[in-house]
């Protein structure tokens, strides 16, 4: 839902970042207001996951330039856990398995950390069990998964549902969902998309990273951005995703080559 007067939640300006000595993000700019759903599409390796990890504060990535404001404040100076407590959520492309740590306890500790961030009281184990059972329904997940170790031995689809369950518990302001649709069969895709739609509202925002149209058939984005070589090459409405679906990414490559040639031709 686009409302030009809605408050800006996330403002990314000329963001550049590298991993080890390799520059990956080469100037990303993006503004997200409350109520909006954005999609970022692009070929494998274009830097989509890097953008999501940089936003969440993964230590392997070094920001080399640009700014990110979250609700008007500097996001990049915050530790990852403070970003999360302030309401930024990253749904991982590859959720991490953590042997020996119970999923239920993990979810409880995380939920209470986020509640503390919102100035709310901690939930005791009983109150939390009630909450988690209610939120399990959003993703139609079997309560048996609560008793297992975090993501350990989960199938790809189960891991993605567990991500959306976490999102449902943490009630983020800005959710960045990195390829939450990949590896899902059509039923799981519907459930996950249903969860995302259910949680999207006028006060929060969603950034969907995907390279398939099929997720955007069930979640309608307000904006679609095409990413290539660490930059946002083009921004449009939902029809841009359809165009990508029809024409493929070759024109993106051509456009990218053209922009990269431009300075030389001028000179």
């Amino acid at each position: 839902m686009i409302r030009p007067d809605a408050p800006v939640l996330l403002e990314i300006r000329d963001l550049t970042a590298r991993v080890e000595d390799q520059p990956i993000l080469k100037g990303v700019s993006l503004t997200i207001r409350a109520g909006e759903i954005h999609a970022v599409m692009g070929r494998n390796g274009s830097g989509k996951s890097t953008l999501s990890k940089v936003l969440a504060g993964h230590p392997a990535y070094t920001v080399t330039g640009g700014t990110v404001l979250y609700k008007g404040e500097d996001l990049l100076s915050l530790e990852p856990e403070l970003r999360a407590r302030a309401g930024l959520f990253l749904g991982f492309q590859y959720p991490v398995e953590i042997p020996g740590v119970s999923n239920l306890e993990f979810l409880r500790v995380a939920t209470n950390a986020r509640r503390a961030g919102k100035g709310e009281e901690e939930l005791d184990t009983f109150a939390f069990e009630d909450l988690v059972r209610e939120r399990l329904q959003v993703v139609q997940m079997d309560p048996a998964f609560l008793e297992r170790s975090v993501n350990e031995g989960f199938s790809g689809g189960e891991k993605k549902r567990n991500e959306i369950l976490q999102m449902a518990l943490l009630e983020p302001l800005v959710a960045v969902l990195d390829e939450t649709d990949s590896g899902l069969d059509i039923d799981a895709l519907r459930i996950v998309a249903g969860g995302v739609n259910h949680l999207a509202g006028p006060d929060n925002a969603t950034l969907l990273i995907t390279h398939y149209q099929r997720l955007l058939d069930v979640i309608t984005p307000d904006y679609v951005h095409v990413m290539a070589a660490g930059r946002i090459l083009r921004t449009g409405g939902k029809e841009l995703a359809l165009e990508l679906e029809e024409r493929g990414y070759d024109w993106v490559d051509a456009e990218l080559a053209a922009t990269e040639r431009t300075p030389a031709e001028v000179g």
Partner: protein, 426 residues
């Protein structure tokens, strides 16, 4: 005497180490009641052997990484532990307190299937499992033999439903608390036993358990030993298995200046099942050591072994896992895995499998890993609002729980993880 010249040059202040043993033997002889108990003969033999055995130095392979200095810094006297506060006993378990001098069975009604062994029978049996597992001459066994004043010896018939808890707390006293245990499981008998050894001061807990498993018998054995920063633990667990028997040992020790565990198993005719799961922790300047040995003397034996260790601070973890598969032990199936977590640059982990395989038709797998906390696991937790230090604690706990949750139910009131990490008040 010989021991003095071979002693470790790095020993802590105080008496020279050879002198330490002499002083200890003199004190032990002084405390000897001279009664003709089953241990009197053992004490005399062990004292003599100990006097002639050099103190283990780091030039001896079995002690290469394990410095005895924290032990020889202790007072060379015998300790009788005072009663200490204990958590409530878990339902379905019988707790026996071992203080080194009084009779742990006084005033106790043993559950059906358990009876004390005494007299000639005890004299004839004690030491046999140590001999069968090649443990008689081990220095910690000699030390125990020369100092132990009491033995708890039980025969097990049929399945025993009650878990037996054998508990000691050396407390804050100085000196050596010496405990000697014997379990004889008749054919088809089964028992669950939990040893708990704690300390709160500068003392040594020396414990030797002998367990003989008859045909088809089953022993589920837990050993939980959360230590004290100046305390030492030397624990030997000798197990002799007849065919069709099952031994499952789960141990967790840590927090000791020097803590060493030696599980020694023998399958006399093979065709038995042995499982060893262990966790050890070393923080500060602590040493945590496990030297395990499994000997298959016949065919079709099995061993499943998982050894996990955590080293933090300037702690030192040592694991040596010997497995012997002679020609007679065809179709042995043994798997050993050593998994180690290194939490500090100044900590040290030494892990070594020691497989001697002569039989040709066997499956013997072994592996060892040393790793740090995974950055991606930490980040995943942090990205959910969990602070870095709490995330690290969760991961550490996850690493430990794999072993701790296998301890007998009766271990729960002792709070295994919190006590090992020193997170609970005593």
């Amino acid at each position: 005497m010989v021991a003095a010249s071979l002693s470790t040059p790095t020993a802590a202040a105080g008496a020279a180490p050879g002198g330490w043993v002499d002083a200890l033997l003199a004190n032990a002889a002084g405390g000897d009641t001279g009664s003709a108990d089953s241990l009197a003969a053992i004490r005399a033999r062990a004292a003599q052997a100990l006097a002639q055995t050099p103190l283990p130095s780091r030039r001896v392979e079995a002690w290469r990484f394990t410095d005895l200095a924290p032990l020889t810094a202790l007072s060379p006297t015998l300790l009788s532990a005072a009663p200490a506060a204990q958590p409530e006993t878990a339902a379905g378990s019988l707790r026996l307190s071992l203080d080194g001098h009084s009779d742990p069975l006084a005033g106790i009604n043993l559950p059906a299937g358990l009876e004390p062994i005494s007299g000639d029978e005890l004299n004839a049996t004690l030491g046999q499992v140590l001999a069968a597992t090649g443990s008689t001459e081990l220095w910690p066994v000699l030390l125990n033999g020369a100092t132990a004043q009491k033995v708890l010896a039980l025969r097990v018939r049929g399945p025993v439903a009650t878990t037996l808890e054998l508990v000691s707390d050396a407390g804050a006293g100085e000196g050596i608390l010496s405990l000697r245990l014997l379990l004889v499981l008749e054919p088809e008998a089964s028992l669950e036993v939990l040893q708990v050894h704690r300390s709160g001061g500068a003392n040594l807990t020396s414990v030797v358990l002998e367990a003989r498993l008859g045909e088809g018998a089953e022993l589920r054995h837990g050993l939980l030993a959360p230590g004290a920063a100046t305390g030492c633990l030397l624990a030997t667990v000798a197990v002799e298995q007849a065919t069709g028997s099952r031994y499952s040992g789960v141990s967790a020790h840590g927090g000791w200046a020097l803590g060493r565990l030696e599980p020694r198993l023998v399958q006399r005719e093979g065709a038995a099942h042995g499982a060893l799961k262990a966790l050890q922790l070393a923080d500060g300047r602590q040493i945590s050591d496990t030297h395990s040995q499994m000997v298959f003397e016949g065919p079709d034996g099995r061993l499943e072994q998982l050894h996990k260790a955590v080293a933090d601070g300037q702690g030192r973890s040592v694991f040596n896992g010997a497995v012997q598969v002679p020609r007679a032990a065809q179709r042995t199936d043994a798997a050993q895995l050593s998994r180690n977590l290194l939490l500090s640059d100044r900590a040290r982990i030494d892990t070594k499998p020691e497989l001697e395989i002569v039989a040709d038709d066997v499956r013997c797998a072994h592996g060892a890993t040393v790793s740090r906390l995974e950055q991606d696991e930490l980040f995943y937790l942090q990205s959910r609002g969990i602070a870095a230090d709490q995330a690290a604690r969760l991961l550490l706990r996850g690493f430990c729980e794999e072993v701790l949750q296998e301890l007998p139910e009766a271990a729960r009131p002792w709070q295994p993880l919190a006590s090992l990490l020193g997170e609970q008040g005593r």
